[in-house]
Amino acid sequence: MCFENLPIEFDDQGNAFLKEGVRNPYEYQTRTLEERETKLKELAVKNGQLADVDFDPVTRVAGALAFHSTVDLKEGKILETNAMATLFRGYEVILRGRDPRDAAFISSRACGVCGGVHSTASALSIEMALGIKPPPLGIVVRNLLLSCEYLYDNPLHLFVLSGPDFSESLVKATNPEVWDKAQTAAAPGKDMHGYETIAEIMTDLNPLTGKLYLEALNMTRVAREAYVLLGGKYPHPETIIPGGVTTTITTTTFNEFYLKISQFFDYAKKCVAIWDDVFDFFYDCDPKYKEVGRIPATMIDFGQWDHEDYYDASYENCNAWGEKRWSTPGVVVNGKLVTTRLTDINVGLEEFVEHSYYEKWEDYPFKTDPLGNPLSPNHPWNKTTIPRPGAQNWKERYSWSTTPTWDRMTFEAGAYARVYISAMAQKIPESEYFESTGHSLKLNIPKGEALPAANLEWHVPDVWNAFERNRARAYAVAFNLLVTLENLVRAFDLQKQGETKVATPFEIPKKGHAIGAGFWGAGRGFLSHHCEIKDGLLANYQIVTPSTVNACPATPWGEGGPYERAVMNTPIIETAFNDEKDFQGIDILRALRSFDPCMPCTTHVMVEGSDRVVTREVTTCACGID
């Protein structure tokens, strides 16, 4: 029984059904946010130290996320938070009425950083709808391509986007007492990364000049080059299609690919050692750091990297092939793994728009999924995207992001969810490189150019906070690398067996009605593409991105999104400020950036009228908002 809030139960065969006697099973109460507003006003009267702090942009990724918070500087508390996606993503509207073969190419444009994952999620979605099973090598090559994207994204975030928050320059400016301690704090992972003290690491995390920062820039290039060897180009690869990939691959290609990937053998070890040392040091410095960005560990991941022996693209078998993925799908609620079945994840999904710039839709075409499991009217297969631009008001509508929930809870998405769920589930297929223990993930990284082979182990943490998100992300680099190796070995084996086919031809039926879903993951986690195909054209297309999940506005019943809740719980540990003028909000930013925000996923296109698409920029700003 994995649902606590939705009235869904299961029969002995594991089929879901709606609890009998519940009159309106998907009904919900909406609650205005005015109560909170009143409390804030009362506090402001009592305490003159309230400051409104706006961060716009906060993403360090194109800046389409604004974040508003009200901080009590005297008490070091955060009183109010609002995350706002400032631009509209119109891919759902653009794709409506198009040929399904266009979906992978167009949806790829949803992000300039991780377009390939959108292509793949789209391909999976079409494959499911039309029953297209790729050949084994096509599946394996797709896995390798995915790995390259993650090997770009995760180090980039750790050292270039989020890393500067832990650098000498930032720490000195915000918490000089921490910098003082860092200078004498020994770095336990010296054998792996070469640094004597934490201060030395912090210096090399300095943006633009730090060796770790510059090294990460270089490693992102290696990852992209590896991608291009197999995928032809990046961004927006055109080699990923429903049915596999369109690239011609020889043993030489795989050898060249291996040469690129092997550069990560030592780098992955270093990533883990660096961040283990830095985060443990922060905890030692001040236990309050454990509260930064702390919320209960509630997260979802679809799992990634299909196993070529099991993936058949069908919804009917998705629980079987899903659980054979190299990272395991699942839902963790309050630190407890409640399911690893893709159908359960899918059935519990809903999207709400009460605090977003969208109209509510009336249609409810799919009461159940293809297996007969019940679906909410707010499920992506039932959703229609109807943009409704309007004034910003924290009490009403303030974001272009929708509010995705699972079992009526907002949840987190991230590379860390991939590690967390895989570690807990003990379902990863056997591999010489990694093993799930139920409470940890064991990672065996081969010898690299300078470092010997290493056995690393990520443990499910006691608390879930900004530091643990980033720590798990560092281990995710190693996990990605090892899944890549596993799949590369499989690619060589398939070639030896004469399996060289990389795509399955297919045709779009001119008549008929089908639905499909691409359950996949971006570097930043959870990614779903739900499609409906009617008489050869896309009748509906819905994308839920990781940043939509994490940056969502409050639910209709008043629960904040993950960013909002994580920042609300964050204490102000920053010390080097006198008043709001020199307050930098580093603790808020650490909490936010631990989610690896990427809002281009929710940007780019604005619709005028019903289905007309025009490219426009939308002038919005969190400053001075109502």
Binding site: V61, E617, T620, C621
Partner: protein, 216 residues
């Protein structure tokens, strides 16, 4: 006397519609205009500025004696015009350069980011020029829509935009070619100096880049 090695870097949009003045046709037109000038290479710089820098640092691209970067003006003040600048360098605070790198590594292609990041990592020669097309922020969207709706004739586009995109491209080609061939010798009153402190600050992607507009 040996000819100087010249690189033209197009910080444009190589995968968009032909009618867009900084689209794929610009590269073809420049290559055609410079076919008799083997010392001039036309390169696609429609990449992350960090990647552009890495190509120079790794020796994948030879460091030229002169470079002309061509792209979109960061701010729109007089749509339909083309301006040329000589880059005189200068410093920005590291935090400001970081903001440009953050954009660069996450997929933003931008002329001024390329200029500043290249300058920070010291990849530009002393003769460094930019040629910038001033296009209103919604130009690309309008051109795509016009193409989709079958009304992309030069005459109709000129009426819709208030200027002819073809003419912008012609101006770009003329100005770029002149600077590539003559460099500082071609510098006159129409080529003004540009320094780091004149660059538009990195702003929220949500803010419309129009000069003098409220909140812009």
């Amino acid at each position: 006397m040996a000819q100087p090695r010249v690189t033209i870097g197009i910080v444009g949009y190589s995968a968009v519609v032909d009618s867009y003045p900084l689209g794929p046709k610009l590269m073809r037109d420049l290559e055609a205009a410079l076919q008799d000038a083997p010392h001039v290479s036309v390169e696609n710089f429609t990449w992350s500025p960090v990647h552009v820098v890495q190509r120079f640092q790794d020796g994948e691209l030879e460091r030229p004696d002169r470079i002309v970067l061509v792209g979109l003006a960061a701010e729109s003040a007089a749509p339909g015009t083309v301006a040329a600048y000589r880059w005189r360098g200068g410093h920005q605070p590291e935090a400001k350069v970081q903001e440009r790198v953050y954009e660069a590594v996450t997929g933003i292609v931008d002329l001024e980011n390329t200029l500043m990041i290249g300058s920070y990592f010291d990849v530009w020669p002393s003769e460094c020029f930019t040629v910038e097309a001033d296009l209103a922020p919604d130009t690309f969207g309008r051109l795509v829509m016009a193409e989709n709706e079958g009304r992309a004739s030069p005459e109709k586009l000129e009426i819709e935009l208030g200027y002819a995109p073809d003419k912008i491209r012609e101006k770009l080609v003329a100005q770029v070619t002149t600077l590539a061939m003559k460099g500082v010798d071609a510098q006159n009153s129409t080529v003004t100096d540009k320094t780091a402190d004149m660059l538009c600050p990195v702003r929220s992607f949500a803010e419309t880049h129009v000069a003098n507009a409220a909140g812009g």
